[in-house]
């Protein structure tokens, strides 16, 4: 196995006597893109900045290219191989040009080269026309682009970014994510970034690390994390909308029945009777049928009548929340919404297959 | 009318710095029931305050200026209080060879011929006035000479500068004695009659400045020439320096001093 570019061991960060980061072991492979996700206050920023050698850990060690970091003199030289985009813009009170130039100036780059590099990247982010503007006068999204530019102009070995696309407008955001994907994959910059946007993580990352209460509770490929969430926090966070707590009643060949608030749900797989479990049901796996169609034969093992209690929109789709004795969420197209005449209070039938349920044991 | 309790006494720094007033004033305040606000400044400033009626009574040692002051009708009841003397001090090496000379103007001539450094207070104080009169007697105008430096400071500081720079200086004896132990200066000429330092008390003319506390001024003037005050002046400084710093002169005539 190749040497990881960054490796953290027994990392702890404390603030005011509370342990806010506790990472027994973490490898960041060379040239990989690692996304950190997790609820607010999980410690994502803390981990990111500790890896970027900006926070000094209370305990543990960080290795860069196999060599253990000592928090003394040489740190500057390492930091100059990194670039960091913070969660807030943190621009200097000077012009946009100077802001973007600042990291290059620090590295002793002057004159034509400086100007050329700065403008190349300002162009890239569509803000060359703002070069002379006072950073204080920028709009939120403009400021965000300046910080991104300020980091990328440095051409770093490792790029650390904390919610880098948060305040960008969707078209710009998509374009930048696409560009970033290209840049990251072409230039193979090792990247660690924090995001709250699942599709961003799915689109850019080779691996996703899910954090909670200062720990990484699951780390792995996007497919793995999505399909096999390690626990309900991950499941909840990664976006499976229906998580039903229940107890295994009967085990019968390759399926078992789980009691969820009095209703029996059939699940494919093995389980011990009496087990406390969470059932995760993806909204896109739930089919809705007009209430008259409930008795038709179907391969869906689970069919529950329910009442529509909420209709929302997720991008171009409709998200329908049902009360079937337990809450259940389904994603359907707008066309189906029309065909089924769905409306708050309407009775429908929800069906989903036994194989479509992911089980988490408590 | 209600009795005004405050008296503003404008005086030279030498009377305050020597500590004499610290002894005299409490006695007067207790006796007369006044509060004296002593403003210790250069004689020039003291007279200027008198001139504008900003002081009630003056205790100063600049006879020529005082006479002019009276002549202009700014002051009344000028009384001789005491004297001490000026001395010429300088580095022990005495580059201008003035030691042994008897006459102060003569000494000044020597200094000017030797172009030896001379420090002048240059602040219109009594001492400065005396020094200027001595240069006049010697027939020299030193003001543009390189070896003649003006500090524009009080006596103590001028002495300190003279000491550091190894220059000559005209000083009153009291200040010199008080500072002696930190100075590299010796007495090189003393005892010449022209070196007398005579203090007068003057009331500011209430006719010119109605706001002046003339009762208080009168009372202070009377106290300064009283037996009691004169006795205190006579004894002052003996314990500390082994010699008196001032000689009481109340009632004497100015011309009779130093004889």
């Amino acid at each position: 196995m190749a040497e990881p570019i960054l490796e953290a061991k027994a990392l702890e960060v404390r603030r005011d006597n509370s342990l806010i980061l506790d990472i027994p072991h973490l490898r960041v492979e060379d040239k990989e893109v690692l996304a950190l996700v997790g609820p607010n206050g999980a410690g994502k920023t803390t981990l990111l900045l500790t890896l970027a050698l900006l926070y000094t850990p209370s305990a543990g060690e960080i290795k860069f290219e196999g060599k253990s970091i000592s928090y003394g003199k040489g740190l500057i030289n390492l930091r100059r191989r990194f670039a960091v985009v913070f969660q807030e813009p943190l621009l200097f009170d000077t012009s946009v040009y100077e802001n973007v130039a600042s990291g290059l100036r620090v590295r002793g780059i002057r004159g034509r080269e400086l100007k050329q590099r700065v403008f190349t990247w300002l162009d890239q982010f569509g803000i060359a026309h703002l070069a002379k503007r006072a950073a204080r006068t920028l709009s939120g999204g403009e400021a965000q682009r300046v910080t991104l530019t300020r980091a990328l102009v440095l051409n770093p070995n490792i790029l650390f970014m904390d919610e880098p696309f948060a305040s960008l407008d969707p078209p710009t955001r998509e374009r930048l994510i696409r560009d970033m994907e290209r840049i990251v994959h072409e230039t193979k910059i090792t990247t660690v970034f924090v995001t709250h946007d699942r599709s961003e993580a799915l689109q850019l990352a080779h691996r996703i690390g899910v954090m909670h209460q200062g720990r990484i509770i699951q780390i792995g490929s996007p497919e793995r994390v999505i399909n096999y969430p390690a626990d309900e926090v991950v499941a909840n966070f990664i976006g499976i909308e229906s998580i039903l707590p229940g107890r295994v009643m009967v085990f019968n060949h390759e399926t078992f029945l789980v009691d969820v608030q009095g209703k029996k749900i059939e699940v494919a797989g093995e389980a011990q009777v009496g087990d406390e479990v969470f059932l995760c049901i993806r909204p896109e796996e739930v089919t809705l049928l007009g209430s008259g169609l409930a008795s038709l034969p179907s391969s869906a093992r689970n069919t529950f009548p329910g009442r529509v209690i909420q209709i929302g929109f997720i991008g171009p789709y409709c998200k329908v929340t049902l009360d079937c004795g337990f809450p259940l969420v389904a994603y359907i197209t707008k066309k189906s919404l029309g065909i089924l005449h769905l409306d708050i209070g309407r009775e429908v039938v929800a069906s989903f297959k036994a194989t479509a349920i992911h089980v988490i044991r408590k | 009318a209600e009795k005004v309790k405050d008296i503003i006494l404008a005086t030279t720094t030498s009377t305050q710095d020597s500590g004499l007033l610290d002894v005299l004033i409490p006695v007067f305040e207790k006796e007369a029931g006044y509060v004296v606000k002593t403003i210790a400044v250069g004689s020039g400033q003291a007279m200027a305050m008198g001139e504008r009626g900003e002081a009630d009574v003056l205790l100063v040692h600049s006879p020529e200026a005082e006479e002019k002051f009276l002549a202009q009708g700014l002051g009344i009841n000028r009384r001789l209080v005491m004297h001490n003397d000026f001395i010429i001090v300088g580095p022990a090496k005495d580059p201008a060879r003035i030691k042994g000379l008897k006459s102060a103007p003569m000494a000044f001539k020597h200094i000017s011929e030797a172009k030896a450094l001379f420090l002048s207070r240059g602040d219109n104080s009594g001492t400065h006035a005396k020094e200027k009169s001595l240069w006049k007697l010697a027939g020299i105008d030193p003001s543009t000479e390189k070896w003649y430096q003006q500090t524009g400071l009080g006596m103590g500081q001028t002495l300190a500068v003279a000491s550091e720079k190894g220059g000559y200086c005209l000083t009153d004896r009291a200040t010199y004695l008080a500072l002696k132990k930190n100075l590299y200066l010796s007495i090189l000429l003393q005892g010449d009659k022209s070196l007398l330092n005579i203090y007068h008390v003057i009331e500011v003319n209430p006719a010119r400045w109605p706001k002046v506390n003339s009762d208080g001024a009168k009372s202070f003037r009377a106290f300064m020439v009283s037996k009691e005050a004169q006795r205190i002046i006579e004894g002052f400084g003996k314990d500390k320096f082994g010699q008196p710093l001032f000689f009481p002169d109340a009632g004497k005539r100015e011309e009779a001093l130093g004889k």
Binding site: L54, T94, G103 | Q149, L153
Partner: protein, 239 residues
């Protein structure tokens, strides 16, 4: 009041005639206090920055010493420097007493803590996350200082003005270590005191006004710089 009017008239007269002596005194004031301020900036800003950013035992004590020293009495400083420079003092060999250099030393002792203390507060006032941002750009300690100064330039200019104002107007130390020697160490403040003690109140006022004018023209320039910086992008936060 008439005195003040006379003083103003006299000040005009002095300004118009600007005889050699007044010129020399004014220039010396400017040179001595300017140099002292400059040295104080060179010492005080780095020290203030270091105190703001680093943590070491005894730091609190140093800070309170610095803060206290913002009120070092010029007389005490003057006395202390005099004693040091005296013939009998430990630094006698330098032969500095009653020279402009001695005045610069004394004024530096007065101004440096002011500038240090105010720089310290100015830097501490910055968003601590900005420090991280600067570090993240790979700045060395020195470069970091430079960034911070740029961010804190408004209060630092104020600190500079306070320091300069403190020394150009100071008298206790100048008189003691300089000696107010005509043509050598006489500056505007010591000349003002001298004229006052001579009873030449009008000349004293005139010199005082000259001093104010001098200080004004310098601080006016600094203020223009400061306020131009302040306006930079903030002009519209009104209403």
């Amino acid at each position: 009041m008439d005195l003040i009017l006379e003083g103003i008239k006299k000040a005009f007269w002095l300004l118009i005639h600007m005889d050699n002596e007044v010129m020399r005194i004014t220039l010396l004031s400017l040179k001595v206090s300017g140099l002292a301020t400059f040295i104080s900036l060179a010492l005080g800003i780095p020290l203030g920055t270091v105190l703001a950013l680093s943590r070491f035992p005894g730091r609190g004590i140093i800070i309170s010493l610095v803060n206290t020293s913002m009120g070092l009495p010029p007389v005490v400083v003057g006395l202390f420097v005099t004693i040091m420079l005296w013939r009998g003092g430990p630094l006698a060999v330098l032969h500095l007493l009653y020279t402009p250099s001695a005045m610069v030393i004394a004024q530096t002792i007065i101004a440096a803590p002011i500038i240090t203390g105010l720089s310290l507060a100015a830097i501490q006032q910055l968003d601590p996350k900005l420090l991280l941002q600067i570090k993240a750009l790979g700045a060395s300690r020195l470069q970091m200082g430079w960034f911070l100064l740029r961010e804190a330039r408004l209060p630092l200019l104020a600190a500079m003005m306070a320091g300069f104002g403190g020394v150009i107007s100071e008298i206790g130390a100048s008189i003691m270590v300089g000696g107010n020697i005509l043509g050598h160490t006489r500056v505007l403040t010591t000349a003002t005191v001298m004229e006052t003690s001579k009873g030449n109140f009008d000349t004293a006022i005139a010199l005082g006004l000259l001093l104010l004018l001098l200080a004004y023209s310098i601080n006016f320039t600094l203020t223009i710089i400061q306020q131009r910086e302040a306006f930079y992008g903030r002009a519209h936060f009104r209403g």
